[in-house]
Symmetry: C2
């Protein structure tokens, strides 16, 4: 007889757990020392409440029914539950709210593959601080937390979640073409993106811009290509890059104009956390100025979440490279 | 519009979370300092795997289906998942295994009420140390952990999960009568128990023994009433009481011969944790010598789990009484 556990889940034995716990506690302590108060939400939420936050987030998790036949889901991220909490429990707070969390979430490994996974997250949400000021605080916070946990080579990719949509609008690409391009970009399939742009006879900027990745010169190049079109997004992104550089994080930043996120609630800057020692992102986040308003009084907000088990793998991989 | 969360779940805001986190970390640190290595298992398990551990444990949780139509459940306790882990992942370990955990579990508040709840547990499992030696280690461990977290008035109820079954067998009570008595006892309905014993013309010991609660004299009285019948259980219980008294815990012990647990896997001593400042148990556990064998090589084992939110309420209630 065998006694399997569900695919995408794990048993963690003491040696590994000791390291994971130290990492998780260390990351959370960094956030708390910076003034982020820990919160906790239920593992299970009503599906229509999560759907209020984002159509796709609600569909991504494991589903179950309660005794009254209501559809419940295991939370697929912490941002929507925290937006719900802020909208309903912090309605009277006007000043900035700094919240952090650690806990499990449950999500499709690849959308549509049917394979679900349980993962450990530590993250932070900054509510009530708009634009560059808020974005820079969150990115610096997470870079510092990772330095505190012993990483030496980590970096953050900076993009803008509204940039490509603005590009499509500016070139009046809509309908099937727009969907196909957006979908290729979300899969980071730049080859497919280029092929589609060429076969549809659309402007080259539609594949050149999302391929731009690197330092501040990336923004110069994008400005040439986009002109007025990308004005807002590019100005914000340059502002964020300048502000973080001013604070001493220049060598940890990678501008990435093809960075978009699957979840639909991002409205501005988007972030992805990397380490050259491993081939996957350690976490991600961004600005979501429209999300909290779906649950109460509108407030600007941004956040970033780390996958603790991936950060743990990166720690080990960096150790080996020393 | 309202955005409810499922009944039996909670949002925890920063002020409360800071206290819960300190409590949870403090309890876990106590266990770890005593040599208990932290482990982690998936939140979700296959229903038939949990059922292998205990029929009722599998039925107590929230159910969901995976993409292949397999029935999954949110774990209703940590002991069965850890028994599964020990049976499958520690098959080669012969010496004692000391494991601890902290995490959520999901269970009916009252069986059959349909009301389910998410709760935070911290607990310990001692595998490979049989009888009184193992039981005393676990009880002392948890009493110390609670003292470490600032409780001053906590105690542990000591009973034997096999005692009443032995009593029923000895008096040859079977079938409907036995089920009715067992069920009354599980609901701690001693009035109903007495009525049933009297109306069926059964020996008085069947309601007097489970009503015995107090110091070591309880064991003397039970021996008079039970004679040979309760020999094994009472000898073990006296041994445990003596050993814990020898270690200085006498004033923290309450012998309770009516203590049984709902879960069917307990085979010997059972424990329940109290604090006079609150009207509910803070946790419970016991010896389960047959459980690990259902997942691999048989090993004696016992464990105890605390409900962190209940301990937190007791902390606050004790503060008020000072």
């Amino acid at each position: 007889m065998t006694f399997p556990i569900p695919p995408g889940t794990r048993d963690v034995l003491p040696d590994e757990m000791r390291e994971l716990r130290a990492l998780m506690d260390g990351l959370r302590s960094s956030l708390q020392e910076a003034g982020y108060g820990e919160v906790r939400t239920p593992t299970v939420e009503y599906e229509d409440v999560l759907r209020q936050g984002d159509e796709r987030a609600a569909g991504a998790g494991w589903r179950l029914f309660d005794e009254h036949g209501n559809l419940l889901v295991l939370r697929s991220d912490m941002t929507i539950p925290i937006a719900r909490m802020v909208g309903t429990r912090f309605a009277d707070v006007d000043g900035p709210l700094r919240l952090c969390y650690s806990g499990q979430a449950y999500r499709s490994v690849t959308r549509g593959s049917g394979q679900l996974t349980e993962f450990l997250q530590v993250g932070a949400e900054l509510i009530g601080v708009p634009g560059v000021e808020g974005d820079a605080e969150i990115v610096a916070l997470v870079l510092d937390a990772l330095s505190g946990s012993g990483l030496r080579r980590h970096s953050v990719g900076l993009g803008d979640g509204a940039l490509y949509r603005a590009l499509l609008d500016a070139f009046e690409v809509a309908g099937e073409d727009a969907d196909a391009l957006m979908s290729a970009l979300m899969q980071r399939d730049l080859v497919g993106l280029e092929a589609r742009v060429r076969s549809a006879g659309l402007p080259e900027a539609l594949f050149v811009v999302p391929g731009l990745r690197g330092g501040a010169d990336v923004l110069d190049r994008a400005e040439e290509l986009m002109g007025e079109v990308g004005a807002t997004a590019l100005i914000e992104l340059r502002g964020l890059h300048d502000e973080l550089s001013r604070r001493g994080y220049a060598d940890r930043l990678i501008l990435d104009l093809g960075l978009v996120h699957e979840l639909g609630y991002y409205t501005g800057a988007v972030f992805e956390v990397y380490d050259p020692a491993v081939g996957f992102a350690l976490g991600g986040g961004g600005r979501y100025d429209q999300l909290i308003g779906r649950f109460g009084k509108p407030r600007p907000a941004c956040g970033l979440a780390l996958d603790v088990q991936r950060v743990h793998v990166a720690q080990a991989a960096e150790e080996k490279m020393r």
